[in-house]
């Protein structure tokens, strides 16, 4: 699959309940980084020539909700929309922004104006040409107060939108904003079919028309969605003729369908990857891939709680937690420990931050320094007559988090800290606990965006109800660094700000950063041309193919 467009704009997606499912989901379209990938089985050159034809059947645990990118906020819809629509820009295999519908762009001296030059040979699926009027319409829909969209914020920063001619346009911003360029990766909508229609009532919700490599064919709710290749795609006709997404909500069932060869692609669970796919038969029929996913899990401390105010205490807790054993025990080794809020193999990650490796003895000393001693001999540390006890809350429906919490409970018990675990249904979890700051520690995850901007999570003003700095992290230097980072276009200069930001976060430990999981897609070995890259495998989906001799399905139009 191609990369989900929404990810361009979303700085961080929630790895919440929904994403809790996604962790184990069949969607392998996440932009993920190649890591110890298995090379596809080599096939003699003559047989492996690219050829048109065949169909790929992809398993998905959830059905799409709406096939208009402006209205969809779930990943199942996002994956389908990514094949149907294009943005002006997109990220390439190495996570650099390149033009998609835009031929090129120019950023003015003052960094306030972006001028886009559009490709001239782009057609909508109904044959009409794509022009800057469509971009203007798309922009207007996103900022229209009547549109119930989750993606208006970046577009609302646009001060002025100018159409210069059919293939040139300019957007002007109030102040320099580096993530702005990436936000134009959002799917472009066809003006000639939507203008004057209430977008929430448009038939295109279930019968979309885009400019992308695949055009919509059929959708049976809860069963399957079928897309056919668009022969007039501006970047060339895709090799695979048909993409069928089958909705199978249960991962065990999905795996059986895969083994019965009625599915070609799904995301494996760590258990399936390690224990159930290690047979000769499976290796002959499927290729497994393994990349670091764009998301991390953490234990967040409520910094307004008196126990966690002292930085030394938080450092000690991190030292007391055996994060490596969480990766081994919960993810069966299919993850990696992280120390900052960026992907450990990415450009933005800073290796040289203070680290707190597992050392229970040292953790005890650190806690003693901070005044936590076991004075009454009950095995639990205390200070000012109060024992060191706290509750970790996490959301229902994510076993990985629940199990990680259990290991943390065991580790902290060893240094004399008593932990209770509470698992709460997602909506109640947010409304009554996280949003009300009614918690001591929480085990949650964040998505890691392709853009390094993290103002919303760490800025000291973002602590209001419903805002994301719910641990109440306060640091003026971080505020300044994040502002600088967001307004700087130069990548190297930006990295300096974010490097320093990571040093501070790692030192202060408002979170104990736990791990980043691997995405574990498996694909039938008849598909060729899959080239794992830092962004994942989906970026060149249109170049995937099945050699003529191996094709399985004949497509009846």
């Amino acid at each position: 699959m191609r990369i989900n467009k929404n990810l361009f704009v979303i700085i961080m997606i929630i790895l919440g309940f929904l994403a809790g499912c996604n962790d184990k989901s069949a969607q392998t379209e996440n932009p993920v980084k190649g890591h110890e990938t298995k090379e596809p089985t080599p096939v003699p050159a003559a047989e492996s020539k690219p050829a048109y034809g065949d169909m790929i059947i992809i398993g998905s645990i959830g059905d799409a909700s709406v096939l208009l990118p402006v209205l969809a906020s779930d990943s199942a819809s996002g994956d389908i929309n990514g094949l149907i629509y294009n943005g002006l820009v997109r990220y390439d295999r190495d996570i650099n922004l390149i033009g998609e519908l835009a031929e090129k762009w120019e950023i003015s001296e003052d960094k306030l104006t972006i001028r886009f030059f559009l490709k001239k040979d782009v057609k909508w699926h109904d044959g009409k040409p794509f022009t800057s009027k469509d971009v203007e319409y798309t922009y207007k829909v996103y900022v229209d107060p009547k549109t119930p969209t989750a993606y208006s914020t970046d577009f609302l920063r646009v001060k002025e939108f100018r159409v210069l001619d059919d293939y040139t346009l300019e957007v002007v911003y109030e102040k320099p904003y580096a993530p702005a360029l990436g936000s134009w990766g959002q799917g472009m909508l066809p003006r000639h079919l939507l203008e004057g229609v209430d977008i929430t009532e448009s038939p295109l919700k279930r019968n979309p028309v885009g400019t992308g490599p695949y055009r919509f064919k059929d959708w049976t709710t809860g069963e399957k969605i079928i897309l056919d290749s668009f022969h007039d795609y501006f970047d060339g006709r895709p090799y695979i003729d048909r993409v069928m997404t089958r909705i199978i909500p249960d991962l065990a069932t999905m795996f059986l369908e895969l083994k019965a060869l009625s599915l070609d692609q799904m995301g494996l669970t760590p258990l399936q990857y390690v224990r159930q796919t290690d047979t000769k038969w499976f290796k002959d029929n499927f290729n497994k891939y393994k990349y670091l996913g764009f998301g991390y899990s953490y234990l967040g401390y409520n910094l307004q709680d008196w126990k966690f105010r002292d930085q030394r205490v938080r450092q000690a807790l991190t030292t007391a937690i055996n994060r490596e054993s969480i990766v081994q025990g919960v993810l069966l080794g299919l993850g990696t420990v992280t120390d900052t809020p960026y992907k450990p193999d990415s450009f933005w990650y800073n290796q040289n931050v203070t680290k707190f490796p597992y050392d229970p003895e040292k953790a005890k000393e650190m806690l003693a320094e901070a005044g936590w001693k076991d004075t009454d001999g009950d095995g639990i540390l205390d200070k000012d007559g109060k024992p060191f006890e706290f509750t970790i809350i996490t959301n229902h429906g994510n076993d990985i988090r629940k199990n990680a919490a259990t290991i943390i409970q065991r580790d902290l018990k060893k240094v004399g800290v008593e932990v209770k675990i509470r698992v709460i249904e997602w909506a109640a979890f947010l409304k009554n606990f996280i949003n009300k700051r009614n918690f001591e520690a929480c085990l949650l995850g964040w998505g890691i965006g392709v853009d390094p901007n993290q103002i919303d999570i760490w800025n000291s003003k973002k602590t209001g109800e419903n805002e994301l700095n719910f641990v109440n992290f306060q640091n003026p230097e971080v505020d300044r660094l994040l502002d600088l980072g967001a307004s700087t276009y130069d990548k190297e200069e930006r990295k300096k700000y974010y490097d320093r930001f990571q040093e501070i976060i790692a030192e202060e430990q408002p979170y104990t950063f736990l791990f980043v999981q691997y995405s574990l897609p498996t694909i039938n070995s008849r598909f060729h041309g899959i080239e794992p890259a830092p962004i994942g495998i989906g970026y060149n989906f249109v170049k995937w193919y099945v050699p003529k001799a191996l094709q399985k399905y004949t497509i009846q139009p």
Binding site: I14, L18, V66, S73, A150, K205, M244, N432, I434
Partner: protein, 324 residues
């Protein structure tokens, strides 16, 4: 006839009462339809959240929302789903109801046709080998977790033997099949789901039938029938069975609302897009109009089922016939 009209008239306030309680309970649950989209989403600011809440009318007090909903309901307008697809609730329900009803009816028929004979024979030959073995089997069916049994059967028939499809209720090439082929295709897909769902229901029904039968057999009129010199077959099937079947009418009435209900676990494991999944997802997303739509249909069917049971009773059992 007057009895019937009175009963139906009484159903209306009951129905309204049910909807008020459901609506209130639903509103008391933390979170609302916008939570999933807006909470913990860095792209949402205060303004955007307000916009979305106003779009769904969630900025009004709950009784206003309820009255608005009720007004539409009276005109049989179920409203539009709050999920991102924003489709009419009636569309969402009606595309899922046929397969749910089909599975439930078939499984009900299977349960009745297997458990009634089991119950009767167990009672007639009480404590015999048949009684013990059948009890054991139906209780195993009752105790075995659905998902486990389903997975075992899928592995056996779907992967190892390759006799039956694993999940879904029709093949990928369904629309290219002949009508007969389509029926055959659906039947093949439904074998496992119906077997699994019926297996769990056998225990209750057969035990119920057994105890009814035991009770009836001890009645004086059975002794009388035997004393008359009737052969055992006639005594059991003509005199005893008919009376033992009477209480089943109640059960039949109670299963009417169950016809549109589906089990989430079961539908999830077989990847069947039925009502159970729809209801579960709606609750998780706090999709109020869809939840209320399903509840109203369910409540109406419950009341209808009760009425039906009463009517059937008065038809089947002269003793309780209401005199005009």
């Amino acid at each position: 006839m007057r009895f019937l009209i009175k009963r139906i008239a009484l159903m209306i306030p009951t129905l309204i009462g049910i909807t008020i309680i459901s609506f209130a309970v639903m509103k008391m649950a933390p979170g609302d339809p916008t939570s999933l989209m807006t909470d913990l989403n860095p792209n949402m600011n205060e303004e955007a959240v307000k916009r979305i809440r106003a779009h769904y009318g969630l900025d009004q007090p709950w009784h206003v929302q309820y009255i608005k909903w009720l007004g539409n309901m009276v005109a049989l307008d179920f409203g539009k789903s709050f999920a991102a697809d924003n489709r009419p609730v009636l569309d969402k329900i009606s595309e899922r109801i046929p397969i749910t009803i089909l599975i439930n009816i078939l499984s009900l028929i299977l349960i009745f046709s297997v458990s009634i004979p089991i119950g009767v024979f167990s009672a007639v030959k009480q404590d015999s080998l048949f009684d013990r073995v059948s009890s054991l089997i139906v209780f195993i069916g009752f105790a075995v977790p659905t998902f486990w049994l389903a997975l075992l059967l899928m592995i056996l028939f779907g992967v190892k033997l390759d006799w039956l499809p694993i999940s879904g209720f029709r093949s990928l090439n369904y629309s290219y099949l002949t009508p007969l082929g389509q029926i055959l295709d659906i039947s093949k897909h439904l074998v496992l789901p119906i077997f699994v769902s019926a297996f769990g229901g056998l225990a209750g029904m057969s035990r119920y039938m057994r105890s009814n039968m035991l009770e009836v057999i001890r009645q004086d009129y059975i002794t009388t029938a035997r004393a008359k010199g009737l052969d055992e077959r006639t005594v059991i099937f003509k005199h005893a069975l008919r009376n033992a079947l009477l209480p089943l009418i109640t059960i039949l009435g109670l299963s009417v609302p169950g016809l549109i209900g589906g089990s989430v676990i079961f539908e999830t494991i077989f990847a069947i897009p039925g009502m159970g999944q729809l209801f579960y997802q709606s609750v998780m997303m706090r999709d109020y109009p869809t939840i209320m739509g399903i509840l109203v249909i369910g409540a109406a069917l419950t009341l209808f089922g009760n009425l039906l049971a009463d009517l059937l009773y008065s038809w089947a059992d002269p003793r309780i016939r209401v005199s005009d």
